[in-house]
């Protein structure tokens, strides 16, 4: 593959339409006679529904129908949970509550009206007779007892799981020091810029249902919606138009999506629901939500002997698609970048009267990395060894890969020493430590936080995935020479229309502008899995690459035929098949568009004239394949290939982040002085996109470390219900990020890529918290829970 595009900082081809406001999100799709849906949502965290009176709501002019839980009870199947864990308790989860509500925001009724205003007016007129019940909010209390949410289960424990390798008790017993710490991973709201939205249309004659949804997984959604609604999967078309971000929150199947489809069938008219930001805060999945207790054993020289993590996972009231599985990802990644002979995770997954937690950018790995990295800091502090040095002493060597961990994984490739060394060099670590010491003597509170993370990406082999770990691609060269790439991955902001076009353009030797990447329509694109888990490029990009290689095998045969030569004598280079001898002689031929625009009379596409030539472009080959007049015997017309790529392993990107902060004594305010990130995501297709992913991830890490927190009060009221209270980081609160890279190719896929979508949220959080803790080390601080707020710091400094 000629690297004309791959590896270049190419601007996203998606951006012009987005910047100009010309893109089409669900709400931009207007169908005639569309009805609008609003939801009546519970204002109680836990209550029995003694009755729902919809009569007043139905009197509002324009209101067409009001549906309650009873109306759909035996008509719409349950909201699916794809996690299969042993002895997992799975509550019956319906699109609308029936007997009880379990969290604030739980949908109780759906109103359908001719306009959004009437639909909203009617919400206030649906009279729900609630009988308030005591709520269970705290996850550790839920593990102990308290009011039972799902009465049939007897308690609030959804599952317990123990995993890990090595004798943890012996490992801790053999340690010179065993350190323990409680750590809280607060609930976060993913807050995609575009909230969820669904439009559904049913053609009763054709019996075809089309659902437009802002989702990360159109095909998986189609399968699940078909099952829930009870229509044949091939009569259901899911279209994912432009998606304004997901961060995992749209890697799900929501009751609203199925309900809209079902209502469209009932009423025979298009129905639309666009989530409000309030609903988005209440009823789109949350992330994180773990309270854990670590024990880490180490020798006097800093060598780690073992790590135990007992964690209570706050699952919320119901399982969404992957809710129970997220903490298992935490367990898998507990070895971090280190050689830890014995690891044990004990997960207690608990129901609470809150919205479900599920995958939010990082999905279980930020929790693991945070635990391990904070633990390494505790070890460093205990032993008086520099935190970077403690990490270095526990890294596996670069030649030890594939490296087996006590969590049962085999890390594909790595050179953790190199990333750490580079980050230290950029920031001039020794000088920084000296400056910190000098500052301390002057009363300044400067802190340095180091995080050397490893994450698990390119999810993943199908054995490890609930619904397939492969990804698909179809590549087709159209008669006019334009290249169509159809990917089963469904990008929603990652820029794969650009990066996949880069891969295709280089592999086919065509101009980048000749490639169009299509995704997100189940009637056009072959079945796919989706974009999540930093998998799209490593798995989906590889599928594109191999599909093209398949396509080229066929193309070379046709080319040889056209050139009246033999396939073995024809070579492909920069988009052109040439006969060896001719190429050696340095012959060149004009390269012109196959069909000049506006010149080809309709219905009479000129046949490529290959007589006597020594080379043809692949686009000419495509035209010949399409016209099928000059094909080798027994050759299928057309030029396209489909490939489903099944990876053999995950990939394991890694890196070092170093944050430098200064804490202001008087107010507890935190100021960034430097931020350096050296990330290794294997081979890089587009450095601009990689930088963008790292930037965004770090910003969300800053959010978790300093600002963001979904807070329910003791009664289960969501009191961070708007962006006036839930603090997303703003541009002015973000430091200059100094980014660099090391490049350790992954052996798992031929592109050598690893994935980068989540690295920032995984690597940065512990660096930031570590830096604040380090700044406060003179006060004896060893750990602080997130979000670290100025008041907490002020109290520490003030009490001293």
């Amino acid at each position: 593959m000629a690297n004309k595009y791959v590896g270049q900082r190419i601007k996203r081809t998606e951006d012009p339409r987005l910047i100009k406001g010309l893109a089409h999100y669900v709400d931009d799709i207007k169908l005639p006679d569309t009805l609008h849906v609003t939801f009546v949502r519970s204002v109680y965290a836990h209550a029995r529904i003694n009755g729902v009176d919809t009569s007043e709501a139905l009197k509002i002019p324009g209101v067409v129908a009001v549906y309650t839980g009873k109306d759909i009870a035996d008509k719409l199947g349950p909201v699916p949970c794809a996690s299969a864990l042993p002895d997992l308790k799975v509550p019956d989860h319906r699109a609308l509550a029936n007997d009880k509500v379990y969290f604030v925001g739980h949908p109780v009724a759906a109103i359908v009206a001719t306009d959004r205003y009437a639909a909203r007016d009617a919400v206030d007129l649906v009279m729900v007779d609630y009988e308030d019940l005591p709520a269970i909010i705290d996850v550790e209390e839920a593990a102990q007892g308290g009011p039972v949410i799902h009465e049939a289960f007897g308690d609030n424990i959804a599952y317990k799981l123990t995993a890990g390798e090595g004798d943890i008790d012996a490992a801790l017993a053999s340690a010179d020091h065993v350190l323990s710490q409680r750590m809280v991973h607060q609930r976060l709201a993913p807050i995609a810029m575009e909230p969820r939205g669904v439009l559904a249309r049913y053609f009763p004659g054709e019996e075809e249902l089309t659902v437009w949804s802002s989702t990360q997984i159109p095909h998986l959604l189609r399968t699940q919606l078909a099952l829930m609604i009870g229509i044949p999967e091939n009569k259901l078309r899911v279209i994912t138009p432009e998606v304004g971000g997901g961060f995992g929150s749209k890697l799900n199947v929501y009751g609203e999506e199925a309900l809209l489809g079902w209502i469209a069938i009932q009423l025979g008219k298009p129905v639309k629901w666009i989530e409000t930001r309030r609903e988005n805060m209440q009823a789109t999945i949350h992330g994180r939500g773990q309270v854990g207790y670590i024990e880490i054993g180490c020798k006097n020289d800093g060598t780690i002997t073992g790590l135990r993590y007992n964690v209570f996972a706050d699952l919320g009231a119901y399982h969404q698609l992957l809710t129970p599985a997220i903490p298992t990802l935490t367990g898998l990644m507990l070895s971090g970048a280190y050689r830890i002979p014995a690891i044990q995770i004990n997960v207690t997954g608990c129901f609470t009267n809150k919205m479900a937690t599920d995958a939010y950018r990082g999905a279980g790995r930020p929790e693991a990395t945070y635990v391990v990295e904070r633990a390494m800091d505790l070890v460093a502090a205990e032993l008086g060894i520099d935190p970077a040095e403690v990490r270095l002493r526990n890294f596996p060597a670069a030649d030890e890969f594939p490296f087996h961990t006590a969590t049962g994984l085999d890390y594909d490739s790595g050179n953790y020493q190199a990333a750490l060394a580079k980050a230290k060099e950029i920031i001039d670590y020794p000088a920084l430590r000296a400056e910190q010491q000098k500052g301390r003597s002057e009363g300044r509170l400067i802190g340095i936080g180091v995080s050397t993370y490893v994450e698990i990406c390119a999810l993943g082999p199908s054995q490890a995935m609930p619904a397939g770990g492969w990804e698909s691609a179809t590549v087709r060269i159209e008669p006019t020479g334009k290249v169509t790439v159809m990917t089963g991955a469904s990008p929603h902001g990652q820029g794969q229309e650009t990066s996949f076009a880069q891969i295709a353009a280089d592999e086919l030797g065509v101009d980048l502008n000749d490639v169009t990447v299509i995704h997100g329509d189940t009637s056009i694109v072959q079945y796919g899995i989706g974009t999540f888990g930093s998998r799209a490029t490593a798995v989906g990009g590889t599928a594109v690459l191999i599909a093209i290689q398949k396509l080229k095998e066929k193309a070379s045969k046709i080319a040889a035929h056209l050139l009246q030569s033999d396939a073995s004598k024809v070579a492909f280079e920069e988009g052109r098949y040439s006969i060896h001898a001719a190429k050696a002689a340095g012959a060149t031929e004009a390269s012109e568009p196959v069909v000049p625009v506006g010149e080809a009379p309709a219905g009479a596409i000129p046949e490529p004239q290959t007589e006597g030539r020594t080379s043809v472009t692949i686009q000419e080959v495509a035209l010949a394949a399409h016209l099928a007049k000059e094909l080798p015997p027994d050759t299928e017309p057309g030029l396209s290939a489909t490939y489903f790529f099944e990876p053999k392993n995950f990939t394991f990107p890694f890196g070092t982040h170093i944050a430098v902060v200064e804490v202001e004594r008087e107010t507890g305010d935190i100021k960034f002085l430097r931020y350096v990130a050296v990330d290794d995501c294997g081979k890089v297709i587009n450095p601009l996109l990689v930088d963008g992913q790292i930037h965004g991830g770090i910003v969300q890490s800053i959010g978790q470390a300093l600002f963001e927190e979904v807070v329910y009060d003791e009664q289960g009221q969501l009191i961070t219900g708007t962006l006036m209270d839930y603090a997303l980081p703003k541009a002015s609160q973000v430091p200059l990020m100094e980014l660099d890279r090391t490049e350790t190719p992954s052996p798992v896929n031929p592109l050598g890529v690893k994935g980068v979508g989540e690295a920032g949220t995984i690597g940065a959080t512990p660096a930031i918290v570590g830096a604040i803790v380090d700044a406060l080390a003179p006060f004896g601080v060893k750990h602080l829970d997130m979000p670290v707020k100025p008041e907490a710091i002020w109290r520490i400094v003030n009490q001293a």
Partner: protein, 174 residues
């Protein structure tokens, strides 16, 4: 949310207690209370137009008085529901008299649900303090009159009740 405070009234304790248990007086003193109808022993149905400034909501619910020990103590239990959400609260009121002054100590728990809970976080505490002040200011005026007298003109706290201007007008005109 816990609320507590003390308020001193220039009125004798018996009279204050009497006012505190008189539905007509309570109706005039509870900010925005448009209606307080007896539905049982010490139980009343209430309609309250509660809010501050621009933010308003109509709540329907009940007020119940419990553990009545005249003239020193009772417990009030309030429940209300409306489009912006619901309010639930209970509080203990203790009255002490010293030198013609009555000190009311109140301590209670207020639970707010729905939109106001979700979006009003930064103002809920201040709002409850303000309403308590309005209530006790009005109560003091009531307690200063003798039982059976015509109720006071609540003009002096008119400013503080400006946001209930509609109700105020009706009260003053009725």
């Amino acid at each position: 949310m816990k609320i507590e405070g003390t308020y001193q009234l220039h009125a004798p304790r018996e009279r204050v207690y009497e006012c505190l248990t008189d539905p007509e007086v309570l109706q005039r003193c509870i900010p925005g209370c448009g209606q307080l109808e007896k539905t049982g022993d010490d139980t009343y149905a209430a309609t309250i137009k509660a809010g501050v400034g621009t933010i308003k909501g109509l709540f329907k619910g009940s007020v119940k008085l419990e553990n009545m020990r005249p003239p020193e103590h009772y417990r009030i239990v309030v429940e209300g529901k409306g489009a912006p959400g619901f309010l639930k609260g209970s509080g203990d009121l203790d009255l002490e008299e010293q030198g013609g002054l009555t000190t009311i100590k109140y301590a209670g728990d207020v639970q707010v649900g729905g939109t106001i809970a979700g979006v009003g976080q930064r103002m809920i505490q201040a709002t409850s303090k303000m309403m308590a002040t309005q209530f006790f200011t009005a109560l003091e005026a009531e307690a200063k009159t003798a039982a059976g007298d015509s109720p006071p003109e609540h003009g002096f706290f008119r400013t503080a009740l400006r946001w209930f201007s509609g109700w105020l007008k009706r009260i003053l005109n009725s």
